[in-house]
Symmetry: C2
Subunit: 297 residues, 2 copies
C-alpha cells in the first residue's frame, strides 16, 4: 500500500514514491507544469512519468497543486477554511476510483473577496506533522506567497501575497530592470535596508522607486539593487501581516527564498524554521493515512 505523491504546479512537477512508513524511496522532477500540457493529455503525461511507480499492485497516487485547477487535469473543489485533513480526504477529486485522486484546494474570504490555494494545503499539513506545531503561523514563499494560520491541526485562514510575481515583473519588465541585476547573489545589507525602508509606511508604489534612484545617484552599487528591491517587497509583506504576539513561524519553500524570509523575520524578533519538499511528501502521507482510516471505518 505504498504511495505516489505528486505536486503538479503551473511550471513544473515533482513526485515521490513513499513506503508504508512515509519514507521517501525515490523522487522525480519534470518540466511538465500544467501550462505545458495540452487539454486531454494529462493522463498520457502522467503515465509517461509515473507508469513504472504505479505498476505495483495497490499503489495509490495523490496529486496536489494546479493540476486541480480549471486549466489542469480535472477541476477539484476548494474546501472552505477552517479545514482539516479529514475534510480534504472526504472531498478528493477522483481521476481513477481508488487509484488516482486530486487533492482539493482551500479557499478563504475577507470582506467579500475570496482567496485560494492549491498545493500549499498539503505542504501545511505536512509541516504540522514534521514540526509538531499544530497552532501557529506558516509562510510559503513563492510566486503567490501564502500566510496561513493553523489551530489544533486545522487551517483556520490564509492570505495570498503576490510577492514573487511582483519581484519578477519589477526586476524583468519595469524601468528598474534597466539598472538591476536580477540574478545577482543576495547582498544581506542591501536586503535588510530594503526591509527597513518598507516600514516607513509610504507604500510599495513609492518605495520600489528607490531601487531606481539609489542606483541613479550611485548610492548603491548595481549588484545590490536586486537585494534592496527584494527587501522592500518582503518588508512590505511583513508590514501587512498580523505578527503581533507571534514568536516563531514555519517557512516552507526553496532555501533561496526561505533564507530571505528568515532574515526579514529576525528584524521583527521572530524565529523561523524552514522546510522544503519534505513537507509535501509528509502532507500527502498524512492525508493518505486519514483516507485509509475513513475507508476502513
Amino acid at each position: 500500500m505504498s504511495l505516489v505523491a505528486v505536486d503538479w504546479g503551473t511550471s513544473s512537477l515533482r513526485g515521490a514514491l513513499l513506503d508504508d512508513a512515509g519514507r521517501v524511496l525515490e523522487e522525480k522532477t519534470a518540466p511538465r507544469g500544467i501550462l505545458t500540457v495540452p487539454a486531454g493529455e494529462f493522463s498520457a503525461v502522467f503515465d509517461s512519468i509515473f507508469a513504472a511507480w504505479m505498476r505495483a499492485t495497490g499503489r495509490f497516487c495523490l496529486i496536489s497543486g494546479m493540476a486541480g485547477s480549471q486549466q489542469g487535469w480535472a477541476e477539484a473543489p476548494y474546501e472552505t477554511c477552517p479545514a482539516g485533513l479529514p475534510d480534504l480526504a472526504r472531498r478528493l477529486c477522483w481521476i481513477e476510483s481508488g487509484r488516482i485522486a486530486i487533492v482539493p484546494g482551500l479557499c478563504d474570504e475577507h470582506d467579500g473577496v475570496p482567496d485560494v490555494m492549491r498545493g500549499e494545503e498539503v505542504q501545511i499539513f505536512g509541516a504540522m506533522r514534521l514540526t509538531g506545531m499544530t497552532t501557529g503561523l506558516l509562510v510559503l514563499p513563492g510566486t503567490h506567497n501564502k500566510w496561513a494560520t493553523v489551530r489544533d491541526g486545522r487551517v483556520t485562514g490564509f492570505r495570498t501575497c503576490m510577492t514573487g510575481e511582483f519581484y519578477s515583473l519589477l526586476s524583468q519588465h519595469s524601468i528598474l530592470a534597466r539598472t538591476l541585476q536580477a540574478d545577482a547573489p543576495l547582498d544581506e545589507a542591501a536586503f535588510l535596508r530594503g526591509v527597513a525602508c518598507a516600514a516607513n509606511g509610504e507604500g510599495l508604489l513609492h518605495n520600489a522607486f528607490g531601487a531606481r534612484t539609489l542606483g541613479l545617484f550611485r548610492r548603491m552599487p548595481p549588484p545590490a539593487l536586486a537585494s534592496y528591491l527584494s527587501g522592500v517587497l518582503i518588508g512590505e509583506e511583513l508590514r501587512t501581516q498580523p505578527l503581533r504576539g507571534i514568536r516563531d513561524v514555519v517557512l516552507i519553500g526553496a532555501p533561496a527564498l526561505t533564507t530571505r524570509y528568515a532574515l526579514a523575520l529576525k528584524t521583527v524578533g521572530i524565529d523561523a524554521r524552514a522546510l522544503g519538499a519534505e513537507a509535501t511528501w509528509a502532507g500527502a502521507f498524512a492525508l493518505h493515512t486519514v483516507l485509509q482510516a475513513q475507508r476502513s471505518s
Copy 2:
C-alpha cells in the same frame, strides 16, 4: 520674443508655440520620445519638428522632461527642493546659448533615498500660475506619478509612486492579465470597490490578488476587473499620502487618469481641479518670464 515650449518625454514629445502673452498659437505632438532617438541625433530630430517655429528672430526654446536625462539630449542637473522658478532659471542646461535650453529636474530625499522628477516641475509651476494656488498639494498621474507639495510658489517636496507602471505590468504581464480586459471602459462601481478595498491596510501585494479571485469565483464580470485593479492601486496611493487636513488638490494629466483620481479623492472628502497640457505651456511661459527678468537685471 515668442516662446517654443517642448515637453520631451520617454515615449512621446509635445510642443507649443506661444506668443508674447503666453497664448498658445499652435501645438504639435510627435511619437519621438527619447527612447526612439539614437545618441547624437537629438539636434536633427528637434530641427525636423521645430525648425519652422524657430526660424523667426529671437525665438527661444525651453525643453522639459526626459530629454534632460542621461539618455536624453544633454544631462540637465536636478535642482534640490525646496525650489522656485528663479532657481530653475539659474540652472538651465544650455544647448545653444541664449536660444535652446533644457530645464533642470527636481530632486528630493527621504531617509537617505533620493526621489526625482523631470518635466513635472514645469507643469507644477504652470498649474500654480493657472489656478492661483501657491500653497497646497498637486498630483500628476502617469507612469510614475508625482505627489508634490508647494508653499508660497515653491516646490517644497514630492514623492513618486510607480502606480501607472504597476498597472501596466499587472494588467499585461501578470497572472491577472489572463482574465482582465485592460482596455475595458471605466466601471465606476468596480473602481470604487477597489479604492475601498485598499483601505483595509492589507497591502497591495495581497489586495491585487483580489482582481484574480473575484473573477475566478464569478463575483465580478471580466470587464469590471481592470477598473477594480485600478481602484486598488489608486486607493493604495491615497492610503500612503499625507492627506490629513487637505481639502482640495490640483490634478495634472490626461483626463482618463485625472477622472479616476478625482473619483478616488472624493471618497476621502477631497475636491480636485484638473488641468492638462495647458499646465506645461503656462509653466514654460512663467519660467521664460523669470529668465528674462534675471537677464535684464
